[in-house]
């Protein structure tokens, strides 16, 4: 693979350009894109032009650069989340219909959870567009539910490298939270963004008994009826798990 003078490959540089857009920032001026990607302006200009020829990047209003609709199409028509989402959506919809709560579907990515699907409470669809967000494992109920269902050595390795950048939580506290979630079969956490909400999530096991995802709800504290929510989530998780790896999926 061809390398630049600085020794990085073209693939490295393409990845750095794609990663240069911060979450929620859909377009950047070329100069800022080059700086964020750590590329000289001339290299960035040439690479952006090449990617734009294939419509992986596009010109945005004001001369800015944005990710291209063609790239969005290629990635979403064969989404790596498709099998999981297709298995989960009917069950997510059931919970959404019966309980009228925000329903999330998440997978583990390192020490974060990545939200791959979301159905919002009726009348609040704004969140719908915001899939592909991340949260640290220890502050999200989906993260705790998923991590608590991993093998002991995966959990131990996570705890060994755990450090709360905000300095609010200790490793011992996270260990207790994981142990409680593991013993209950679900995780419950006070809302991080909104302290008047409560997150409740359960792990989803595939047919090989691996905890591959979590399904959860975010509910106003006043409406958090555990006796309804937990059985509904556990039932949904079992149904989704049965679909995963079933013939034809």
């Amino acid at each position: 693979m061809a390398n630049s003078e600085s020794g990085d490959s073209v693939v490295d540089r393409v990845v750095r350009v794609l990663e240069a857009f911060p979450e929620g920032v859909s377009s950047l001026p070329l100069g800022e894109l080059a700086a964020r990607a750590g590329l000289p302006l001339t290299s960035a200009h040439r690479l952006v032009r090449q990617l734009a020829e294939h419509r992986l990047l596009e010109q945005a209003p004001g001369g800015k650069v944005q990710l291209g609709l063609r790239l969005w199409e290629l990635v979403n028509r064969n989404s790596p989340t498709l099998v999981l989402r297709q298995a989960a959506l009917p069950f997510m919809d059931d919970i959404h219909q019966v309980l009228n709560q925000n329903v999330n579907l998440a997978v583990l990515q390192g020490d974060d959870v990545l939200f791959v699907e979301r159905l919002s409470r009726r009348g609040s669809v704004a969140n719908r567009a915001k899939v592909a967000g991340r949260m640290p494992v220890h502050i999200s109920s989906a993260g705790v539910a998923l991590m608590s269902a991993q093998s002991p050595h995966v959990q131990a390795a996570y705890l060994a490298r755990f450090r709360d950048p905000a300095g609010k939580t200790t490793t011992d506290h996270v260990r207790q939270v994981l142990a409680a979630a593991s013993s209950h079969g679900y995780a419950e956490l006070a809302g991080v963004v909104d302290p008047d909400t409560w997150g409740i999530a359960v792990p989803i096991h595939d047919r090989q008994r691996r905890a591959v995802a979590a399904i959860g709800v975010v509910v106003p504290l006043a409406e958090a009826r555990m006796q309804q929510l937990v059985p509904a989530l556990k039932t949904a998780a079992r149904g989704i798990g049965r679909q995963l790896g079933a013939p034809g999926m």
Copy 2:
């Protein structure tokens, strides 16, 4: 940019790998991926390994290769469709709630429409996962609505290159369909996939009066109440258009 012996650049080859996955096929054996991308097996192997190091590609079950969750995350967290979808989703949800019909949002891509968002009729969420699909303009109500609102020279150029690969439709017929849609301000077409359904769509104009998208519904023929649907869609399209380009979007 570095070129291979055959003269194509690394960026070209990356694009060919991403484009090699046919719609709805989420993973391919390496040999088939190489063949579809038109790459020698050794080059494909090296490129796949490099892309996998950055998690733009991943190993799928059975030794196959699939698009990586990291690529999905990068593209969706800064989706080029985000502004349009955020503007449209509350209005799509209104139609979904009031009329309980499948609601689609589409943009023009060459001679196709690309569906960027979909809300399915309650109880039929299977379709939800299938955004990023395409249809030829002339067989989709969203396509006809969008094309009929383009400038006369864009429509003329489209008609000049029009040829129905199925041999069912003539250019004259398409011209009449576009003229009718333009004069009515909406398009109505019998279902292609299911002949017992009816597609109805209207163009969405942004603040510069450009037709940038279409919103439409797909309804069972027996339920196609034009007097309800068309005003609801036109109202929604005006609301979405007001949002596009509004301050803060």
